[in-house]
């Protein structure tokens, strides 16, 4: 829905900007705007709309007969595609399973980095690693950690006398938790740094005043830190959820969706459908469903949170 509104608006904006009423932009502004606007329209907004159209066709790769408009047939098939809904469920488990611990850990790290601790610089420096690494390398790296015989995880567990090692990424029960841990590791520092920036915008005097009034650490957090941090925290959590739900590279490298589809996120499913089996129309329909569901979930989340905030 938001997509359509945004594009509509952009179209109207284009038509009106010449005779804009409020603050007539001078002709020079057009000259500044066009270089970015044309590629955005041609390579982003255009394909997005085209993609939505494709979802209503039987487009396939490498087919000779022309593509036909088939209405809602893809969506009907999708509705009965139990494998897809299973992957959707896995995607939600993964997105929630990554986003929530990611946020809690990041908040903890941000609060620590906001204190006068000696090793702060080291934590800041290390936090760059997951953030700057290519996702493919993060995947490769954790494969080495999880490796059944040559991995550090099993070796450590053996040293601690906790079992004799497993093949974490191939186990039906362990694969999803194992990739979720990687997801948390990969995104946590970025969230922490953003939260830290938010923390540093809170006036220190407020904390001091609260401390003078005898408020303990938890009360100071509840009454001073959190209210100031809340908008940033909400925005980050919403974005993280979307990014996590749409994730691809990390899990592609770690498990390729295995074992037995236990880690097959919706993006992996759609990718295989489109580029392994050539079902472009069907895969596009999957993309549409993902957008729709994400929009609804986010709307519910934001409305709920915002309303909750009014009472607090």
């Amino acid at each position: 829905m938001t997509l359509v509104t945004a594009t509509k608006r952009s179209a109207r904006g284009t038509a009106r900007a010449d005779g804009g009423r409020r603050r007539p932009p001078d002709r020079g502004a057009w000259f500044l705007v066009l270089p970015a606007l044309i590629p955005i329209l041609v390579l982003s907004v255009g394909p997005l709309l085209y993609g939505i159209l494709l979802a209503f066709t039987d487009a396939q790769s490498g087919r000779t007969e022309p593509t036909e408009w088939i209405g809602g047939l893809n969506f009907r098939d999708l509705l009965h595609d139990t494998l897809y809904w299973e992957s959707f469920r896995i995607g939600l488990v993964w997105a929630v399973g990554v986003t929530v611990p990611q946020f809690l850990l990041a908040l903890g790290l941000a609060l620590l980095l906001n204190q006068d601790l000696r090793l702060r610089w080291l934590a800041r420096a290390l936090a760059i690693i997951p953030w700057a690494m290519p996702e493919v390398v993060v995947g490769v790296m954790w494969r080495l950690v999880y490796s059944p015989d040559a991995g550090v995880l099993n070796e450590t567990l053996r040293d601690l006398g906790l079992g004799d090692g497993r093949d974490w990424l191939s186990g039906l029960g362990t694969a999803l938790p194992a990739v979720i841990v990687v997801g948390v590791w990969a995104g946590m520092p970025q969230t922490a740094v953003a939260l830290l920036a938010g923390l540093q915008n809170t006036p220190r005097e407020l904390h001091e005043a609260a401390a003078m009034d005898g408020a303990g650490a938890w009360r100071r957090f509840r009454t001073v830190t959190w209210p100031a941090l809340r908008p940033v925290a909400l925005a980050i959590t919403a974005l993280n959820f979307i990014w996590n739900f749409n994730a691809f590279a990390l899990v592609y490298v770690l498990t390729s969706g295995g074992p037995g589809g236990r880690t097959r996120l919706p993006m992996l499913f759609a990718y295989e459908e489109a580029f392994r089996y050539g079902q472009f129309g069907y895969a596009a329909a999957m993309g549409c469903v993902m957008v729709a569901v994400i929009s609804v979930l986010l709307a519910l989340f934001l409305v709920g949170r915002l309303r909750g905030g009014d009472d607090a």
Partner: protein, 277 residues
């Protein structure tokens, strides 16, 4: 705001936990990259290689066209970063200084574009690029990367432009400088560090990107580093761990160095964009 001794100890323990969590996978990667095959095959792996070797690096270069892949990545990332910054800066300037329907729509697009799954964009792009015979070509990939890097580049740049006081420009105008003159001699120099940071950030995201490269590049000669890296993992998911670790380590170094340099600016830029818009 004094913390009790017990609280302090707790804080240090927590910080130590974070340090271990953040560092150990990377240390393991580095350690694996320098291990001999015998050590990798031993049932009790060690943290520090007993007999450090460069053989894995040599083997990695022998097995896959790493140098060419790095060259491809460099070209794609440089091209994308340069073009993205060149076309984003003027739009960001207008977005920061004028409020019109158009700039509002652009802001809306920046936010919305973060939400749609790439698969919905890549299928049509694939069809279009195929028509233009730009599949398996770096120019096609650069085009995609430019648009993909634009939202964030705009986001950061709008923040940087807002940080340049409009009064400075007005003062220059009062002094009789034309619009272009003001932009070039007043705004641009103040904006330069932000533009560089944005460009470097676009560079890293393109250097690290995997999904588009996987779909658009077919032959090993054209593939970028992340795609070539996955070729070390065989069809059955079996990987030659040593060379894989060596190649992965090399692929990370450039982004780590660049990121270490600009990390502060990125956070600043992100926040400036987020807080003030």
């Amino acid at each position: 705001m004094r913390t009790s001794t017990g609280g302090r100890i707790g804080q240090y323990l927590a910080l130590f936990g974070y340090l271990v969590f953040l560092a150990f996978p990377f240390l393991w990667l580095v350690s694996t990259a320098f291990k001999t095959p015998q050590e990798l095959g031993s049932p009790h792996p060690t943290w520090i290689p007993r007999d450090p070797t460069l053989a894995n690096f040599r083997q990695a270069f022998d097995e896959q066209p790493l140098l060419r892949a790095a060259g491809n990545s460099l070209l794609a990332a440089l091209g994308a970063a340069l073009i993205a910054v060149l076309i984003a800066t003027p739009l960001a300037y207008v977005m920061a200084r004028h409020r019109s329907r158009l700039t509002k729509a652009a802001t809306g697009w920046v936010v919305v574009s973060q939400a749609f799954p790439l698969v919905l964009v890549i299928i049509p792009l694939f069809l279009v690029l195929k028509q233009l015979r730009l599949i398996n070509s770096l120019s096609g990939l650069v085009m995609v990367y430019v648009v993909w890097a634009l939202p964030f580049a705009l986001w950061m740049l709008v923040g940087y432009v807002r940080a340049v006081p409009a009064e400075l420009e007005e003062a220059a105008a009062v002094d009789g400088a034309g619009r272009l003159r003001t932009l070039v001699s007043v705004t641009a120099p103040l904006l330069a560090p932000g533009i560089v940071a944005t460009g470097l950030f676009a560079f890293i995201t393109a250097w690290n990107e995997f999904f588009f490269a996987l779909v658009l590049l077919k032959t090993p000669e054209k593939q970028t580093l992340p795609v070539v890296l996955t070729r070390f993992i065989g069809a059955e998911g079996v990987a030659d761990l040593g060379p894989l670790a060596a190649a992965a380590f090399l692929a990370t170094l450039p982004s780590l160095v660049v990121f270490a340099v600009i990390q502060r600016r990125i956070t600043g830029g992100m926040l400036a964009g987020a807080v003030k818009s």
